[in-house]
Amino acid sequence: MSDASTHTHMATHKALSTTLWRFARRQPLGAAGALLILAFIICGLFAPWVSPYDPFDTNFSAVLEGPSRAHWFGTDSFGRDVLSRIIYGSRSALALGVTASLLGAAIGGLIGVMAAYYGGKFDTLTQRLIDIILSIPVIVLALVLAAVLGKHEIGALDLNLVLAIAIPNAPRAARIIRSAALSICRMPYIEAAKTAGFTDMRIILGHIAPNLAAPALVLVPAFVAQAILMESSLSFLGVGIVEPAPSWGLMLSGVAVSLFAEAPWTVIFPGLAISVTVFAFSLLGDALRDELDPKSRS
């Protein structure tokens, strides 16, 4: 018995590693993205060990120093080490980006599946609501939401900021998942399940949802990328993460704007961190789409 189970366990492991290897060979850019993401996650998790300085330590004798051996990315106007702040910043960027996008995708996805399956009035109603929300530019809605909701921190995570980013994105997820679910709902195997007298719950969870894994998997990295961008934009505009917390977007706002001619490193490196992270998630999302969506495969 245990013999058999270890055997299948090993087989699954082997299958997984070959799948990953195949993915890496066919989608080198996607694999590079995944590695970059892994690097950022490690940086975030082990920030206290990785970063050379305490990100909050001000040092007024070393204000706005350029990159040097002591401070690879220089220091900011408070004399704080830019590299350390970037490393710590990856925590909030990833935590916010991942929670907000997963939340948005989950809310939207659920509405999308229900709308596709039940159709009729529920579908019409949600579609109208989605139309309404989508007609407001994402950043505008997020800006207003972030300002209106204020701050509500749970641990280090500002829940309201998560909501402000998740809500404008949810309708997008709903649209995408709905159309994917619609084509699945029309498949004969779903009709066969209805004919077999299964309950709606069983059909949605057991038959439709597993087949939505692929579109959802493609959706999430793209959403994380958008959410990280959004967080940086909101922090830049002053309604996101506030001082003295280390956040990439925040590092680009305020004094940095006026001083960037004298101290370009305070601008270049945090922006680069945002760009590279978003880039990595986008590459991964694209690669997953190419792999999982047979239509886009060429």
Binding site: M187, P188, Y189, I190, E191, A192, A193, K194, T195, A196, G197, F198, T199, R202, G206, H207, P210, N211
Partner: protein
């Protein structure tokens, strides 16, 4: 005037002289020093490989055949036999993953496979025209019909706008498009499928090519339209003195037209030669099997259809010897050796190792056919399904400009099925037969009418009531690839309904799954596999097993065998017949193929534009069809018998099924009906009894 001048061109010669020059193309070839005895196209040892995820797959493994001048050659084979790859490689239209690795295709002295792309472009469309399978997708949706036909003329013959327009108009009239003048500036979506295929023919023949290649030209069309298109195409080709290469999976389609036949199996040629010789005296067991397994209207109904057991080999894993050997009941040791095409006693070429024994009459395919009697409905037993005046109307709008219209998809259909009885429901696409099935399955809600299942009113049943009723009736769908959930194993697909309904649980359920798999002719170990590991025929068997898991009284088969190859189709039809006998099942067998329905149904209903036009016991319907539409359907059905096909008159085949958006007034069939008079156009006729259990909705069926 040269004799090969097409008659239709005589009128044109006065108005535009340029059109005439095309009539002189045969002498042109003569001047080039080519003998007319030489074949127009000679394909030698053609090999094509595809790069796939599983490595290199050889789709064509040495194909040789020739097409003579003014000759009609048919390449026949089931899916995966390489017939379409052959056509595409001639035209240089293979997908990027494919590569021609060996061989020649000499067309008028030049090898098509080694031509420069400029030469190939000059040849395509001008010397070789092509027609594809799906007319719905083969025309550019954003360009007018006139532009798309005229384009070829401008490109190859240097026609100016006025000339090309005039010639395009001629071509449209030529391919039988009514009102050609006004249709010239219309877009493809404004044409029906049959009309679009006519446009494709006009494109293919615009420059009067020497060869026309038609890749499954009628597969996507309804049977009454199919015959018209084939007649048109072969007629025009004969008039032009051109050659025609028809690629098809349906032997019947080509029996009427083909001079020679090439039978392909798994990337190789099994047999080729004179059409009548191949059809009448096949010298390869695959050809014989294929001919025997197709259900026919012109032979007595058999108890069991002849079948070819098993399925074609995986082209990545093709046997070195005869690829058909694993399925052949007469295989011997010699079949594992590499075989080549050898001449037979009938002047054909066959790759069968035992062709001499076939010729000597020592070996036959299969056994003697036995007649089968239809199951007679027991009058006293209550019906398992009664449908009473069922109606389904949709509100649709055809576009922004057009107002909302009511489409009567199903317009008052009544039927009843007794236990153990099979009702065949026949009709062309868009007649509402599938909508009717879906309403009975309660996947669509009827607009009005009543559905009684097992004595319970199912019309508006909901929730648990409906779920309980659903145990009585199950469904088998058409598309074997879409009817199984790709993420569930075969065992889960069959076992889940039993568990949900508490029919069987745990180990008992697993045991039932194994039994059911056995019952549908699959091995019980297959329960652990996923659908993508199974072939189309196997999936359809799984679909049947899933339906049986609920122990239903009635199974609705919605085109359940239409997507399958002939040899596999026969297997599934036989399986359904056996199950019906052993389990006293009832079927509602929805199909467009009259021949298949004849083999399985006890009573047949013919549907046209939402209404039943004729209903009769099987033998009576096929022997004495009364509705002109039924007669037309029967006349149009092709049969793989050249003598019979050539003798058949197709004069009666006209028109296409009307659009349900704009149904004609009165009898919907009147516009195509040879018997219709004023009265028919006034009101739709009702079903009336004309014989024992025979009902016809026609005012003039006796005329």
């Amino acid at each position: 005037m040269p004799v090969w001048m097409p008659q239709t061109y005589i009128g044109i010669q006065k108005s535009t002289c340029k059109i005439l020059f095309l009539g002189f193309r045969v002498p042109e070839a003569r001047e080039a020093g080519l003998s007319l005895d030489e074949p127009l196209l000679a394909i030698k040892n053609l090999k094509v490989e595809f790069a796939s995820e599983r490595g290199i797959v050889r789709a064509l493994d040495g194909v040789d055949f020739e097409i003579g001048r003014s000759e009609i050659v048919a390449v026949v084979g089931e899916s995966g036999s390489g017939k379409s790859v052959t056509a595409l490689s001639l035209m240089g239209l293979l997908p990027r993953t494919a590569r021609v690795t060996a061989g020649q295709a000499v067309f008028e002295g030049r090898d098509l496979l080694k031509m420069s792309s400029a030469d190939l472009c000059a040849t395509r469309g001008r010397d070789i025209g092509m027609i594809f399978q799906d007319p719905m997708t083969s025309l550019n949706p954003t360009l007018t019909i006139g532009f798309q036909i005229g384009e070829t003329l401008r490109e190859h013959l240097g026609f100016g706008p006025a000339e090309s327009r005039a010639r395009t108009l001629e071509l449209l009239k030529w391919v039988g498009i009514p009102d050609a003048e006004s249709r010239l500036d219309q877009y493809p979506h404004q044409f029906s499928g049959g009309m679009r295929q006519r446009v494709m023919i006009a494109i293919g023949l615009a420059c009067q090519p020497k060869l026309l290649i038609a890749d499954e030209p009628t597969t996507a069309l309804d049977v009454t339209v199919q015959a018209q298109i084939l007649d048109l195409m072969s007629g025009l080709v004969r008039k032009l003195g051109a050659s025609l290469l028809i690629i098809t999976h349906n032997l019947g389609v080509v029996a009427r037209y083909a001079d020679r036949v090439v039978v392909m199996y798994s990337g190789r040629i099994a047999e080729r030669g004179e059409a009548s010789a191949v059809f009448n005296n096949p010298r390869h067991f695959y050809t014989a099997g294929l001919l025997n397994s197709a259900p026919r209207l012109d032979a007595p109904v058999q108890d069991r259809l002849e079948t070819i057991e098993g399925q074609p080999p995986d082209p990545a894993n093709r046997p070195e010897g005869c690829a058909f050997a694993p399925r052949c009941p007469h295989k011997i040791a010699a079949c594992t050796q590499k075989l080549s095409l050898l001449p037979t006693d009938k002047g054909t070429l066959s790759a069968c190792a035992r062709q001499e024994e076939i010729a000597a009459g020592h070996l036959h395919w299969g056994g003697k056919a036995q007649g089968a009697e239809p199951t007679l409905a027991k009058q006293d037993e209550p019906a398992i399904l009664t449908v009473d005046n069922l109606v389904k109307h949709y509100m649709v709008s055809a576009g922004w400009r057009s107002p909302m219209r009511i489409v009567k998809a199903v317009d008052g259909v009544s039927l009843s099925i007794k236990p153990g009885q099979t009702i065949g429901l026949v009709g062309e696409s868009g007649c509402g037969k599938s909508t009717l099935g879906r309403m009975i399955l309660r996947l669509d809600d009827p607009t009005s009418g009543r559905i009684m299942i097992g004595g319970h009113d199912a019309t508006h049943a909901k929730g648990d009531d409906l779920r309980q009723l659903r145990r009585l009736f199950q469904v088998v769908f058409q598309d074997p690839y879409a009817s199984l959930n790709p993420r569930k194993t075969i065992g889960e697909a069959i076992g889940e309904p039993m568990r949900v309904h508490g029919i069987a649980k745990g180990a008992k359920a697993n045991q039932r799954v194994a039994e059911l798999l056995n019952q549908v002719g699959l091995r019980p170990e297959m329960a652990d596999r996923f659908p993508h590991q199974m072939s189309g025929g196997q999936r359809q068997r799984i679909g049947i097993a899933r339906a049986l898991a609920m122990q239903p009284k009635l199974i609705i088969c919605d085109e359940a065998v239409s997507a399958l190859d002939v040899s596999i189709q026969a297997q599934v039809v036989n399986l359904l017949t056996e199950l019906k006998r052993s389990m006293n099942l009832s079927y509602l067998f929805i199909a467009h193929d009259l021949a298949v329905v004849r083999h399985i149904a006890d009573e047949v209903l013919v549907m046209y534009l939402g209404r039943i036009v004729e209903r009769a016991p099987r033998d009576r319907l096929y022997a004495q069809p009364q509705h002109p539409y039924t007669r037309m359907l029967l006349a149009a059905a092709p049969s793989p018998d050249p003598q019979r096909e050539k003798a058949r008159s197709q004069a009666a085949l006209v028109g296409e099924p009307p659009s349900p958006f704009a149904p004609p007034p009165g009898c919907a069939f009147a516009p195509r009906c040879p018997l219709a008079n004023e009265e028919c156009r006034r009101a739709p006729p009702v079903l009336r009894q004309t014989g024992p259990d025979h009902h016809v909705a026609c005012l003039r069926s006796e005329a």
